[in-house]
Symmetry: C2
Subunit: 423 residues, 2 copies
């Protein structure tokens, strides 16, 4: 009898010991963080672009941009005058579309090589910046640049990239990320090579964003918030500091969004949103955490097949993803509801608080003028099976970390994303 | 009568016009922000120091440190083994005191030059890091290194500096700042040269801070919070985003402090405090704002004359500075009371809220075991006139921005800092 009791005590001790050891090491993750980009921020800052390039010894610059809007607003002229005054030569490469394609990169590479381009300057938002990064990777590489996106190769170097930002959203001006769509293969692939792809400088004049149409402003706000969500929703314990400033940035972006909805020319609101977009994606909100990029991956299939704006797709995916995760891993969603959506939890069930938080987020998206229903967004009944098959091909059997998602789970999230929502 | 009315209308219109113009341009300040330091963070990270140096082509390193504590804990051995394994040679330069002196810099310079040192590695907290930066400035300069502190010269270059951080407080591991005390002249001078002085890398292992005596932990917490205060208390409008993440960091540091008071070995609390110390001073909490360094300047006189720890001096100065400013510029102090000290403003007068916020901060300092009374800190009646005279000599006629302080105001703040406080 005594020996039996001792055995039990021994087992209990052993289990406690193992749990204790696991607990001790269950802490914030080790990390390395380096954000070497120089952010040159404020009114008139685009006039410094020539100096920013010349001081980095650029001699021949490829200016990568999207539509001719920057020509009509006079921005391109201002930039080119600044380069000329600083003695920096340049060529233009315009026409980059939203969700930039591999084709646009392939077309740029011989031009960059023939002109001995030694610096890429992106002017615009995430699309020209991501294309500029791909061109920077491809110019010095004798093989197929897509190798760096397909995972076949890891880059050791790239041409330096600078940015004049006109659409705050993607956070690409401060990140080492690039997302390129291969239309042949229906793949939208995101890579992260911070050591070679972080821009050397980013010129950020909030005034340049005042003429943005409202929908682009709204998509940008949804996108930058999503960049924080993908880092915030994590099972890594002990990261309260990062979580608390991430929550502060999220709350502030929503405040600025309401200001801009009524006064798109509010300089400070534009400036705060612009800086928030950078902080949302330069990595500072993810230090020490295992991140989760499921919502982005789920969205990439939507924009790859239906050619909708990334931010518009995220407004559809995120509430569905949250609703799905609420049943499986509720704790951080509760914290989100209380600390970000400012739901008062007094006297409420855990689940009630979370549901209210998700509803508040949906209301916020609706207040921005966005739909949160997939079929309404794409204007047809979504082919969920096609998206799941493509997701499976691109990402394998599971997705994400906060709740690891099987392909069945992803199918369910797309289904939830197409339910009508009540306010 | 009509013409008189029109004249008034004209004047009113003109005044409105001018005020309107001022208002339009009264926004966030332009800024340039670049934090190129690589932060290598987490358990065991000191083992990467050799690689961090070798990959930056260091061949002969001067290891600058303070007391022999790092020798006794085995840290110095670990670092030197890592350097040897990476093929990096080194010499030691220890004995840097708290509030590092110009003399310790002068003594190091011929050694650095004779040994052809090409990289300075600081091991410890703010004092060795600030001394390392001064040595980095002085080694390549044929003149007197103090020229860069007295304001006679602006540096164009310096040797590269790396850091192994063991005391989170000064934030010097991520800043371009250095504070050196000239004992001959009783001057404690702070300089900011981000382009040349920001460390190339900072190795931050929270475990190394677990053996810190409590008072050093507490001083560090006071110091990092002060670095945020000096940026937070600003009259620059439109900086809500920065303010909200600054508030989040302040609240979190106080939470972690209470955890560490009871459990100094809590890894995550140590990790959060360590990262907060970096964010508090790498500039990210000050972007777009006119800063105010009055409290630091007022404290520098105390530690220069009475040889007390900088953090201990700040705990005395800050509540007095706040009390003085409350009457002249209350708005941000109200925001601080509500958003940082979490005072419930319901049904309270503006002044009552502010007073409660300051009291809560004083209570927090007392909970850390610190005094907030000057004579108790220095163990004698303070010679306020001597400090004011020195302040005047170092800083001129006025100090700071949030409330510009005359020397009479500074005298009054020192007087307030010596009043007994009630809890």
């Amino acid at each position: 009898m005594i020996s039996w009791a001792w055995n039990v005590a021994g087992i209990v001790f052993f289990v406690n010991f193992v749990v204790g050891i696991l607990f001790i090491f269950s802490t914030m993750e080790n990390f390395s963080f380096c954000s070497p980009t120089e952010f040159i921020f404020g009114r008139g800052s685009q006039e410094q672009v020539g100096l920013a390039l010349a001081s980095r010894r650029a001699t021949m610059v490829m200016i990568v941009y999207g539509s001719d809007r920057i020509r009509h607003t006079g921005l391109l002229d201002q930039i080119e005058s600044s380069l000329t005054a600083a003695g920096v030569r340049f060529i233009e490469y315009g026409g980059i579309q939203p969700n930039p394609t591999a084709e646009s990169v392939y077309n740029a590479l011989p031009i960059a090589r023939d002109n001995k381009v030694d610096f890429i300057l992106a002017v615009g938002g995430g699309s020209p910046i991501d294309a500029a990064k791909a061109i920077a990777l491809g110019t010095l590489y004798p093989g197929d640049f897509w190798d760096f996106y397909s995972g076949k190769e890891q880059p050791q170097f790239a041409l330096p990239v600078g940015v004049v930002l006109t659409i705050p959203a993607a956070g690409s001006e401060g990140s080492g990320n690039s997302v390129i769509t291969n239309e042949e293969t229906h793949q939208k692939i995101s890579v992260r090579y911070p050591n070679v792809l972080r821009p050397r400088f980013a010129i950020m004049n909030p005034e340049l964003t005042m003429t943005l149409p409202w929908d682009q402003t709204a998509y940008g706000i949804v996108d930058m918030m999503a960049h924080i969500f993908e880092r915030y929703f994590s099972n890594t314990p002990g990261t309260d500091l990062v979580d608390s400033y991430a929550e502060a940035i999220l709350r502030n972006v929503m405040d600025q969004a309401y200001t801009l909805r009524h006064d798109p020319d509010d300089y400070d609101a534009r400036a705060n949103v612009m800086w928030a977009g950078t902080l949302a994606h330069n990595g500072i909100c993810g230090v020490g955490k295992v991140e989760d990029w499921s919502s982005h991956r789920l969205e990439h299939e939507i924009s790859a097949f239906y050619h909708v704006a990334h931010g518009a797709g995220l407004a559809v995916v995120i509430p569905a993803w949250m609703t799905f995760c609420a049943a499986k891993n509720p704790d951080k969603l509760w914290k989100f509801a209380v600390n970000v959506m400012e739901v008062d939890p007094t006297g409420k069930e855990h689940k009630e608080v979370i549901d209210e938080g998700i509803s508040e987020l949906i209301n916020f998206y609706h207040d921005l003028g966005l739909t949160t229903r997939l079929s309404e967004l794409i204007g047809e009944t979504p082919d969920i099976e096609k998206m799941v098959a493509s997701l499976h091909r691109n990402m394998g059997d599971t997705l994400g970390n906060y709740v690891p998602l099987s392909m069945d789970d992803c199918r369910e999230i797309y289904r939830l994303a197409d339910l009508p929502t009540e306010e």
